[in-house]
Amino acid sequence: MNFVALTASERFTAVQTGDVDVLMRNTTWTQSRDSSVGMDFGPTTYYDGQQLMARVSDGFSGSSSVADIDGSIVCTNVGTTTEKNIAEAALLAGAEITLLGFETSDEVYETFIAGGCDITTTDGSALVGRKAKQQPADQEWVIFPATPISKEPLGPTYGQNDSAWADAVNWTVYAMIIMDEYGVTSANVDATCATAEAEVARLCGGDGELQTAMGLSADAFHQVIRQVGSYGEVYDRNLNPVGLYREGSANAGWLDGGLIYSPPAR
């Protein structure tokens, strides 16, 4: 397992040159990336949306709107959907802004903390994470507007037109979602698989399994759950600590009113 850290503007080239096999890099599924950029997209693993963050001392609150940022300096990352969204949203709201683009997120927040920009904008999940981690004691940050200014479905991305590879990546995610629906976790997967029937049994590698037909080992998804966990387990472990919860969000399971859904394993 080799992780390759990439900036937003490096990421698609890294796939095209073969430096990475897949991107798991907060990448929004868009029409241009899916077509002219030459990527294919897997199942959305996090439904996000772009918001803005500013200082309360500058007069902003949770009920602020894009119109309220008129005259502000706005910092964001280059090579992202974020840049285009905020420019469009400001235009529509009649707000004149100065947009400063940075190659890395760290530079964005360093500049924001130092007062070099009034507003920082990116996916809501990233703002929540940064606020939890980096808000200085002498500043109070606020995230707005309540309804995001864009849709940012984030998920796995890989080079286009390689169906066998796409299937392997996609069904890894689907298996994590289905196992979550059945309450299977890394803690109980061995015991569950020993006695499982029907859909869980197939994903475990038992009767009727479909993993070998995909070029994987029969127990591939059993290993995924054992070594990494189900969708819910992975979500809770990583995102609950920064204040992101599935309940009531688009990232809840479909039976709980969310959008996380998998086709059936049969």
Partner: protein
Amino acid sequence: MKSKFLKFLAIFLSIGVVAAACGSDSEDAAPATTAAPATTAAAATTTAQVEVVADGSLLDVVQARGTLNCGVSGSAVAFSETQADGSVTGIDADFCRAVAAAVVGDVVP
């Protein structure tokens, strides 16, 4: 008689091509249930899928290499963060590990 059969066959095939070209996802199942040639089409599809798995997919490359190269941010809080010891934490990092576990069988390190 023979030319009439060929003409019929040509029309039938062209209908098949048009149907395939126009079908949306939800309509794909429809032609498969109509006539005998659908069986031939299904068999051909199965063969093609086996060839894709065996020939030229990144799946084979990754399995032969024995390790997954996964692109992450490294500075996205709770999604992918490179730690002081070089390890990467976060939900995106865990999805990388999941694909590695499925394809290569092991997520180490």
